[in-house]
């Protein structure tokens, strides 16, 4: 083959050979114009195609293009190889055998740390309940529909399901796995375990993270924390429930706090109630926060619905009990008058440093 591209293969091989010899990024940067750029032999060949007839020029142009691509690919590979080698070199220079760290030589400045507001609030609430004789229980955040809803007397399509905006997890049949919308599934696990082990009664609280599909705003986050309580024992009455609510609210919020129960509906308790406490902003005189009622709603509670007890194999004629639940974040929000709950998950040091 004759013509301007007669030696193309040799030229390309020569260029590829040159690329192979390059040993640093700096060198590559310096030589790239001469290899694939304007000063490259390929560019010179490009210029020499001008004299060819159109068909031959098109063929030659295509061959030249392919040749250029090969060289550019080799340069790209080279660049990656060199970058990796450079990273390896830097990492190697940086190497530290962590087994050899001498504690006494690690510098440190004395500085106060700060527990998370939610964690601290949860710990305070746990302490109140432990002092009242409750054990602290926990459970998983991903649950089956059965534990989150059905065992709690909320069958599929029950209108009450609308009370919880549920995140469904893409596992199993549609809508069978959920991010728990409350810590109540832990109550079901506790009751099942107690029945299996013959270890009734139960006096437990269960704090934990829950999820609801609510667009976050100043008062709600899609992830939040609540603590629920569960008592299953002989002879438990509504008066015991009201007494427990009164005792813990006084222990946590202060002895001048009053509590009030009002009827409500939860599928897993009957009778059910919402409990309110003296507004923490105005101390009961009425303000905007409490809609001028002097009361702030804290949580829900009620006597365990016999259907829930029966579902886990507890005889409602022998045992009775109550459950209650409320938001940990909300307690924190009230105490610290946090205007926007979204600050809780922003992890800004200026926010975190305020709590101890």
């Amino acid at each position: 083959m004759t013509g301007p591209l007669e030696n193309l293969d040799a030229v390309v091989n020569g260029l590829l050979g040159e690329v192979d010899t390059i040993a640093s990024i700096e060198e590559l940067d310096a030589r790239e114009p001469a290899l694939a750029g304007r000063r490259s032999p390929l560019a010179a060949l490009q210029k020499s195609l001008g004299g060819l007839d159109p068909d031959a020029r098109r063929d030659a142009g295509a061959r030249l293009q392919a040749a250029r691509a090969r060289v550019e690919a080799a340069i790209g590979d080279c660049r990656r190889r060199l970058a990796a080698a450079e990273r390896d070199r830097l990492l190697e220079a940086d190497r530290l055998d962590l087994g050899d760290v001498v504690t006494s030589t690690v510098p440190d400045t004395l500085r106060a740390g700060h527990p998370g507001l939610v964690a601290r609030t949860q710990a305070e609430l746990e302490d109140v309940f432990v002092a009242m004789g409750f054990r602290v229980a926990e459970g998983p955040e991903v649950e089956s529909d059965w534990y989150n809803f059905e065992a709690l007397n909320i069958p599929p399509a029950h209108p009450a399901r609308g009370m919880w905006d549920t995140f469904y997890v893409d596992l199993g049949e549609p809508e069978t796995v959920v991010l728990r919308t409350h810590t109540s599934p832990t109550q079901v696990h506790l009751m099942e375990t107690a029945v299996r082990d013959g270890s009734l009664p139960i006096h437990s609280v269960m704090p934990g993270r829950c999820y609801r599909r609510d667009t976050p705003d100043a008062r709600h986050l899609a992830a939040f924390h609540q603590v629920e309580g569960l008592v299953v024992d002989r002879g438990i009455t509504f008066a015991d429930l009201a007494g427990v609510i009164e005792t813990f609210t006084r222990a946590y919020f202060g002895t001048d706090v009053e509590t009030r129960l009002r009827p409500s509906y939860f599928p897993f308790t009957e009778p059910s109630a919402e409990f309110e406490i003296t507004c923490q902003i105005c101390h009961g005189t009425g303000c905007r926060t409490c809609s001028h009622t002097g009361w702030i709603e804290l949580g829900g509670c009620g006597m365990l619905d016999p259907a829930v007890l029966e579902a886990v194999g507890i005889d409602p004629d022998e045992w009775s009990g109550f459950a209650f639940g409320f938001g940990i974040d909300r307690c924190a929000q009230m105490r610290h008058e946090i205007a926007d709950m979204r600050a809780l998950t922003e992890n800004d040091a200026r926010f975190l440093e305020q709590f101890s």
Partner: protein, 823 residues
């Protein structure tokens, strides 16, 4: 639900003090979520007639308007609206009026023209949302300039309660139901409202048909024929009442249906009889392939199984005499049979449908209506014809010739009979812990329509048909006790703090978490809370090949996957602090990460409808992750912090072991934490990969971030992460001797292993501590010098020089067994 006080008062005489009524509603469990005062702020607002309209020089948005407000002199105001002419009558807020929302009208000067008041739009007066221009009064309305606007429009001041009614109170989803609760609370009689009866004459069956093919899904189907209908607007008070209750007036027929539904809780559906083939309504299941265009203009495919548990796709429909579907029963009618201005005869359906079937159809079609809201909670099956009687009475106000054809069609399907339970003597007291006399309980229940009867072993209580929520057996007794407690008042119930013999307490895991947190806080760490739901990209940073655990219905695409690591979130939080100039922080999080059940032996649990399925759930692992980002912090800081934590947790011997670094970790400055005895991986210590840190921190000086990650599941298992025994050693009273030993140690021998060997070499050794590491110089490649301070003592004597020298030789020999040579 919105309940106007004036409407409630039609049924029961209520106290004047709104606060007292509100308090009673709250205490009855009909929670007042808001109170709206309407017709207030209309003092000094009068009817004014426009006399003259003049431009104002230099102003193109406002004009000077002269009105007659009934005063001897005309009133001059400046007005920015353009939708009125001379002769129109409009509302004038006089100087001194305070409009709803608190806007006070004062004398103002605009462009040199004094405005002596304000002409108002409907929205400015709080009467509607209309703000397109002035509220121009209907010319047919007889008014006089200067007349109080409220008198002119017949607006009485009213209070509207916004009530939240629980799903277990189907009877309270109506004005009458709410009034009934209040009547019991205030011990006042209930009044009735006007109803009409069917006419005498030819029976309905001669003109219309009713066929019930799905008696299991429709408890009752009544079909009435109403003649002499003239479609037009409703009387003003009906329109006003609907608006107060939050509905829009449409026409007298539709309004009558809505009024009855709001007032009594019975949805009805009016059809144009001439547009219903065969004037026949047939209730049946929809068949696959059938469609319906509902009143909202959407064509809906029927009988299609939906997503979610237990949804077989069952729809109940209304079909006509030719079996064509004309409505989605209990939810919404079809467009084809809608009432129009030409309608003269109405076919009125008042029925009862199975709540669960309606609820499923509502969810599947994403179509909720005022009617479905009531049907899915349970409508009183005995209410249908009473509601039609009320419908006729209301429609007759605007259709004087209205006739309800005799003997309306009434087909019964299956409805569970009202529950009957027997409360054993004293059961109310036993459940509530409050002494409530059985007679008191009976009186309260009877007020709601429960039938009570003293039987041998207690009181038999039968629920009214309006209370399908009341169950049988133990659950039914609890339902009845709740009604007693509610009507008696929760506020009057006794309180008692119970005690029990078992002590409270926390688990080892919970205590462990607290110790970790305390120790971290003591080292200047801030506790963070990062998102559980993250983007796929974030998961890929640490787990490029993991199967993702996705949320089906995320709020946003970058919050759709359950996290697999806390590191990306914490590094991002650290970087955000750096960017905000608040960044010299150490951050830690204690949180759960998730692994797909196909990737990790997960948890199996009960699931599916009825709990009969076994489901594999993601494995949840609780981690403690720390990002050490103060200036000077690096992998060494992380190791030192780990040692503090290990000491705090009394860990016996967890060692730092070289290991390949996972993603985001620095490849040559990271190591594993391994329990020496069990060989179990406890966590990882090191530094963040510089290629990860650089783009996060941006073009500031190079920064290092120490990393520590600990698996709490392992840490809280004493078999995996062994703790030092509780037994304490009383130290020797004799002074201890200290010697320093420096060993040239092969790179493959960890410093901790050598320390461990020295510790175990002699009973005299009290403590071994690494104090210096030296590389280079005479040491040579592949080794380093490790210098340990060794403290020795004996319980019963001061060690002699000879003993110390002897022990030193033993220690050196122990080192040599590991290949270490005294330097």
């Amino acid at each position: 639900m919105r309940a106007p006080l004036s409407w409630l008062r039609e049924f029961v005489d209520l106290p004047d003090d709104v606060g007292v009524v509100r308090d009673a509603l709250d205490d009855l469990g009909l929670v007042v979520e808001g109170i709206e005062q309407v017709g207030e702020g209309l003092d000094h607002v009068v009817v004014a007639e426009v006399r003259e309209i003049h431009p104002i020089a230099g102003a193109d948005k406002i004009r000077r308007v002269v009105v007659d407000a009934g005063d001897p002199e005309p009133v001059e105001v400046v007005c920015g609206a353009w939708n009125f002419d001379v002769g129109d009558r409009v509302p004038l807020a006089r100087v001194g009026a305070v409009l709803p929302g608190g806007f006070e009208i004062a004398r103002r000067s605009m462009r040199g023209v004094v405005s002596n008041g304000m002409l108002c739009s409907s929205r400015e007066l709080g009467l509607s949302g209309d703000h397109r221009g002035l509220m121009v009064l209907d010319a047919e309305l007889v008014t006089t300039p200067g007349e109080d606007l409220r008198d002119a429009l017949g607006l009485a001041a009213d209070t509207v309660f916004d009530l939240s009614v629980g799903a277990n109170r189907p009877d309270a989803w109506s004005i009458r139901g709410v009034a009934r609760d209040l009547a019991i609370r205030f011990d006042r009689p209930m009044c009735d409202v006007a109803r009409r009866a069917p006419s005498s004459g030819s029976p309905t069956s001669e003109f219309a048909g009713a066929v019930l093919e799905a008696p299991d899904l429709c408890g009752r189907l009544t079909v009435s024929v109403l003649r002499g209908v003239r479609v037009g607007p409703s009387p003003a008070w009906i329109a006003r009442r609907l608006e107060l209750a939050g509905m829009r007036p449409i026409s007298n027929v539709v309004d009558a249906s809505n009024i009855v539904m709001l007032e009594l809780g019975q949805p009805t559906h009016p059809y144009d009889l001439d547009r219903v083939a065969g004037a026949t309504l047939r209730v049946r299941r929809a068949r696959p392939g059938e469609t319906l265009e509902t009143l909202d203009g959407v064509v809906r495919a029927l009988a299609q199984p939906g997503r979610g548990l237990g949804d077989t796709g069952e729809d109940v429909v209304i079909a006509d005499g030719e079996d064509r579907v004309i409505g989605l029963a209990g939810i919404m009618g079809g467009a084809a049979t809608e009432i129009s201005d030409a309608t003269t005869t109405v076919l009125l359906e008042a029925a009862h449908f199975d709540p669960m079937t309606i609820a499923r159809s509502v969810k599947r079609h994403g179509l909720r209506s005022e009617a479905s809201t009531r049907f899915e909670r349970g409508v009183d099956p005995e209410l249908a014809l009473e509601a039609v009687g009320r419908f006729v009475a209301i429609l007759a106000l605007s259709c004087p010739e209205l006739e309800w054809v005799a003997a309306p069609l009434d087909v019964r399907g299956e409805v569970a009979p009202p529950s009957r339970v027997v409360l054993r003597a004293g059961e109310v007291t036993r459940q509530l812990g409050t002494e409530i006399d059985d007679d008191v309980a009976r009186r309260l229940l009877e007020g709601l329509g429960f039938v009570t009867e003293v039987v041998e072993d207690g009181i038999a209580v039968t629920a009214p048909t309006s209370r399908p929520d009341v169950r049988t057996g133990a659950a039914g007794r609890a339902d009845v006790v709740e009604e007693v407690a509610r009507l008696y008042s929760y506020r009057k119930l006794a309180r008692r703090t119970p005690t029990w013999p078992s002590p409270g307490g926390m688990t080892d895991r919970q205590l462990l978490r607290r110790r970790l947190r305390d120790a971290l806080v003591g080292r200047g760490v801030l506790e963070a809370w990062t998102a559980t739901l993250v983007s796929e990209a974030q998961v890929r940073r640490t787990h490029p090949d993991a199967r993702l655990v996705r949320v089906t219905n995320p709020l946003a695409e970058d919050e759709a996957v359950l996290r697999t690591s806390l590191i990306p979130g914490l590094l991002d939080a650290w970087a955000r602090n750096v960017a905000r100039g608040t960044g010299d922080v150490r951050l830690a999080e204690l949180g759960v990460v998730f692994a797909h059940p196909d990737d990790a032996p997960g948890r199996f649990t009960r699931g599916g409808e009825g709990g009969h399925t076994t489901l594999a759930l993601p494995r949840e692992t609780e981690l403690l992750t720390v990002v050490l980002g103060q200036p000077g912090d690096d992998a060494r800081t992380a190791v030192a912090l780990w040692r503090v934590l290990a000491e705090r947790l009394r860990l016996e011997d967890v060692v730092v072991r070289a290991a390949p670094a996972p993603r985001e970790w620095h490849p040559t400055r990271s190591a594993e934490l391994v329990d020496r005895a069990s060989g179990v991986l406890v966590g990882r210590v090191g530094e963040a990969d510089p290629d990860v840190v650089a783009p996060l921190i941006g073009p500031v000086a190079p920064r290092r971030a120490g990393l520590l990650e600990i698996d709490l599941d392992v840490l809280s298992d004493p078999a995996s992460a062994r703790r030092r025994p509780d037994g304490a050693i009383v130290p020797s009273r004799f002074p201890s001797a200290s010697i320093d030993l420096a060993f040239v140690t092969p790179a493959g021998v960890p410093a901790a292993d050598l320390a461990n060997a020295l510790r175990g070499a002699s009973d005299l050794v009290e403590r071994v501590e690494l104090f210096d590491v030296y590389r280079g110089g005479a040491i040579g490649e592949g080794a380093r010098s490790l210098a340990y301070a060794v403290r020795m003592s004996a319980a019963d004597r001061t060690l002699s020089e000879g003993e110390v020298a002897q022990a030193r030789d033993v220690l050196i020999a122990a080192g040599e067994r590991l290949g270490a040579r005294l330097r």
